[in-house]
């Protein structure tokens, strides 16, 4: 196990370099650069400032040089400054990251808890009315694009009922408190949890259906165990693997963010920041954000693999 862990960590280093190099190359290949962002089509900008912009951002140097400069600076803990507005990349990511972790974390927690519960619930009642209605509802949840769901939520709960603020992360006329944060969080978190609820519910249901027909569950039932003990003591632990995998796959959403939900609720998260970065071909910001995402993906996958061994002792790493 320890040897496996060490090997994984060691191999992460070249993988990590590969990822940053590939992403840098992709940004390089993508059409347009920061100067194309500054030439606004509707404004009559001449080419006077274009070379100045290029030189200012070091774009006159070859890409390989820029990549290694970026890498050197990263090792010194410097992520650089944004092309589009000169703000420091690290501070920008830091601020947006906390907003996204709060929102996506809440949504993921809601999704996992409700989704897994509903998954078990429906699996135990396969083909019942409950099963059909909850299944259908969950599919409605994933088939309605989140901006439409967001607008509908805002319309009902913010405009009609006036229960929650219509967007943003804090009130503009008073200092934020825990309570104001919760009030701003409820609607976007609910909208964002629709997909995880459906996802966790479907996987749990299928995994449960696989195991509740297994011999050992029948044996347990034959021995006269209560259904509750069978479910929680025997079926569920064996259905955990897909749930853990899904949880691992969902962890990156904590840093990636959700563009549409953030947009409609004016939530200053990583999703909208990424879009801003792409729209401005803001290379330092794109590289910084991808760095964070890569770290989280690699960590999440490692944790998931380790969790397999805990959930299923038959899985060994050597």
């Amino acid at each position: 196990m320890q040897k496996y862990l060490l090997r994984r960590l060691l191999i992460s280093i070249p993988v990590f370099f590969a990822i940053t190099a590939i992403i840098f190359a992709l940004i390089e290949i993508a059409p347009g650069d920061i100067t194309d962002y500054f030439i606004r089509p509707e404004l009559n900008m001449t080419d006077e400032a274009e070379e100045a912009i290029r030189a200012r951002f070091g774009l006159d140097q070859p890409p390989v040089v820029r990549y290694f400069n970026w890498m050197l600076n990263v090792f010194q803990g410097d992520l650089g400054y944004r092309f589009t507005n000169g703000q420091p990349v690290a501070a920008t990511i830091n601020q947006r990251l906390s907003a996204t972790v709060l929102l996506a974390g809440t949504a993921l927690a809601i999704g996992a808890v409700i989704g897994v519960s509903l998954g078990i619930f429906t699996a135990l009642r396969q083909y019942s009315l409950w099963d059909f209605s909850l299944t259908s509802l969950s599919f409605l949840g994933i088939s309605i694009p989140s901006f439409v769901a967001g607008i509908i939520f805002l319309y009902v709960f913010s405009i009609q009922l006036g229960w929650f603020p219509s967007g943003g992360m804090r009130p503009v006329d008073q200092e934020p408190t825990l309570l104001t944060t919760i009030r701003h969080l409820v609607l976007p978190a609910c909208v964002l949890s629709l997909a995880p609820i459906a996802n966790f519910m479907r996987y749990t249901r299928f995994a449960m259906l696989e195991v509740i027909r297994a011999d050992y569950v029948r044996t347990a039932r034959g021995k006269g165990m209560t259904e509750r003990r069978i479910t929680w003591g025997h079926s569920f632990p064996n259905a955990l693997l897909p749930v853990i995998t899904l949880l691992g796959l969902s962890l990156p959403t904590l840093v990636v963010g959700a563009v549409f939900t953030e947009t409609i609720f004016s939530w200053p998260g990583m999703g909208t920041l990424y879009l801003e970065a792409v729209n401005g071909r803001d290379v330092p910001l794109l590289m910084g954000m991808n760095l964070v995402i890569a770290l989280v993906v690699l960590t999440a996958n490692l944790l998931t693999d380790l969790a397999y061994a805990l959930a299923d002792p038959r899985i060994r790493y050597d």
Binding site: D36, E42, T46, D173, I264
Partner: protein
């Protein structure tokens, strides 16, 4: 089953209680608006980097001169009067007396000198030279004659310098003298301790959330009536509209279709005006099919522009005869070809130009627009053109992708786009070789029209009233030769709560700056 219910009840109660637990505080003297939503907005920009968002910037900083309320003429701001020498190579500006910076210091001519030098400083790499069409080559020197007089010495005549200076926000030398120009764009000063001469003063800025201002008691026109002005940031117009309907903000930009829904509603006032932007199809004349005037004219005849603006766009756009967003730029109607819908004429012209009606051609039309307005317009253009055997395929690209092709002159055939075109900001560089960064050095469209270039050369150095005449001549030339496919100019809208008094908004391109008398705005009553 019971266990589920047990869980459900506390959850429901929590949800029901949450909203009750905190009321919405409403200070009647504070105006909260979404001033940076829509095409004229750009959240959290700083002076000289303002691609847009100038409506908000003008609350904190002021230029020497700005547009007037409907951007038809200039309005004095920090300058009271200005004049040029005979050949327009030296301009003298008299400055307003008694203007104080937000921190109490006096505003002087040195601040103007400092501001222009900073805006032009290559190390600061601002977008000011690009947007103002001023360059280090044209402005030789700016000097303070006395505390309240500034002189601009130019290398070449410029009869419209005051228009170019609209974008020159005057910054305080005493606060920024120590700033290294290379750090200009990274400076936090604008968001933490900004000092200006505008009607409102910096109070609090929370990135991506809002920018709050206090009234400036020393404002030269008198202290504002509002006790506070807050600009809330929205990533999307729809969110801002919903916030307006929820009563959380009192103003936002709204696209035409949405704004029409507010018309006649007593709770809201709808503001509207010409966008100042002409939408047109630019044909790449490097493709020889479009170098033929008959083809370009055929396309004009094939599209029922009147029906599109009146029906599909519900009157939120007006047909234009040429590049130019204001009727005063057009010559008399009888001198113009109105290209009234005539598909028969279009087919005939196409046939003359060698198009075979039995084999329709596919042509991609690239655009950077992503609004429903332009999507609908393009759908209609597509349907009309398919009637005459031209299948256009609209392709939407993001702005950097679009620009990376458009300005090379390669990789596109027709582009549906917009250009800001008023009297003072007429897009001359679009027509001149080398005016825009194309790879082959030719004008953007690839077509060179010597007659128009001559008119432009005269217009560049002409003062009114000759200038107006020349702009009209350019319009006539463009119209008759269909140098491009001229479509329409959009009307843009803003919606304000009717609780606002003396509030004013105008959809100036990039937000102006224009004179909106913000010190008179008030809330409630």
């Amino acid at each position: 089953m019971n266990r589920w219910k047990k869980l459900l009840i506390p959850c429901l109660m929590l949800v029901l209680l949450l909203p009750v637990m905190s009321g919405v505080a409403q200070d009647s003297g504070v105006l909260i608006g979404a001033f940076d939503v829509g095409p004229g907005g750009a959240p959290a920009v700083i002076p000289y980097m303002d691609t847009a968002g100038r409506t908000w910037l003008s609350k904190i900083w002021s230029p020497l001169v700005s547009w007037n309320a409907d951007i038809s003429a200039l309005e004095p701001q920090l300058a009271t009067e200005w004049s040029a020498n005979e050949d327009y190579t030296v301009w003298t500006f008299k400055l307003r007396e008694g203007v104080l910076w937000h921190d109490g210091e006096a505003f002087t001519a040195d601040d103007v000198v400092f501001s222009l030098n900073l805006a032009m400083n290559p190390d600061a790499a601002t977008s000011f030279p690009g947007f103002s069409q001023l360059s280090r080559d044209t402005v030789a020197e700016v000097r303070a004659v006395d505390d309240l007089t500034v002189e601009f010495a130019l290398n070449s005549p410029n009869p419209r310098l005051p228009f170019n200076l609209i974008l020159l926000w005057i910054l305080p030398e005493h606060a920024l003298a120590d700033l290294n120009p290379a750090d200009y764009q990274n400076s936090d000063w604008f968001f933490t301790e900004a000092v200006g001469t505008g009607p409102f003063m910096h109070k609090e800025f929370v990135r991506d959330q809002f920018w709050a201002l206090d009234p400036n008691p020393n404002y030269w026109r008198g202290a504002p009536r509002l006790s506070g002005l807050i600009n809330r940031y929205f990533a999307d117009e729809t969110s801002a509209i919903l916030a307006l309907e929820a009563g959380e903000i009192q103003f936002t930009y709204a696209s035409g279709d949405v704004a029409l829904g507010f018309e006649g509603n007593a709770a809201y006032n709808v503001f509207s005006g010409p966008s100042g932007v002409t939408n047109y199809m630019i044909f790449n004349e490097r493709d020889e099919r479009f170098a033929d005037v008959r083809v370009r004219q055929a396309i004009m005849y094939a599209i029922d522009r009147q029906a599109i603006t009146e029906t599909i766009l519900q009157g939120t756009a007006q047909v234009v005869p040429c590049i130019g967003a204001f009727p005063a730029m057009y010559p008399a109607a009888e001198e113009l070809n109105d290209y009234a819908y005539d598909p028969e004429m279009a087919r005939q012209l196409l046939a003359e130009a060698g198009f075979d009606p039995s084999t329709p051609v596919d042509i991609e039309v690239v655009t950077y627009y992503d609004s429903q307005f332009h999507a609908d317009a393009l759908a209609a253009i597509q349907a009309f053109l398919s009637e005459v055997g031209i299948n256009v395929i609209p392709i939407r690209q993001d702005v950097p992708t679009y620009n990376s092709y458009f300005y090379t002159g390669e990789g596109w055939t027709i582009s549906y786009r917009g250009v800001a075109a008023g009297f003072a900001n007429f897009p001359f560089p679009f027509y001149e070789a080398g005016g825009q960064p194309t790879t082959d050095g030719a004008p953007l469209s690839g077509g060179t029209y010597q007659e128009m270039l001559d008119l432009i050369a005269q217009a560049r150095v002409a003062a009114d009233p000759e200038y107006t005449g020349l702009v009209q001549d350019i319009c006539r030339f463009q119209n008759q030769n269909a140098t491009e496919g001229y479509m329409w100019t959009a009307i843009r809208f803003g919606v304000a709560s009717s609780g606002l008094q003396d509030f004013y908004w105008f959809p100036a391109p990039a937000g102006g700056p224009y004179d909106d008398r913000a010190e008179l705005w008030s809330v409630g009553g």
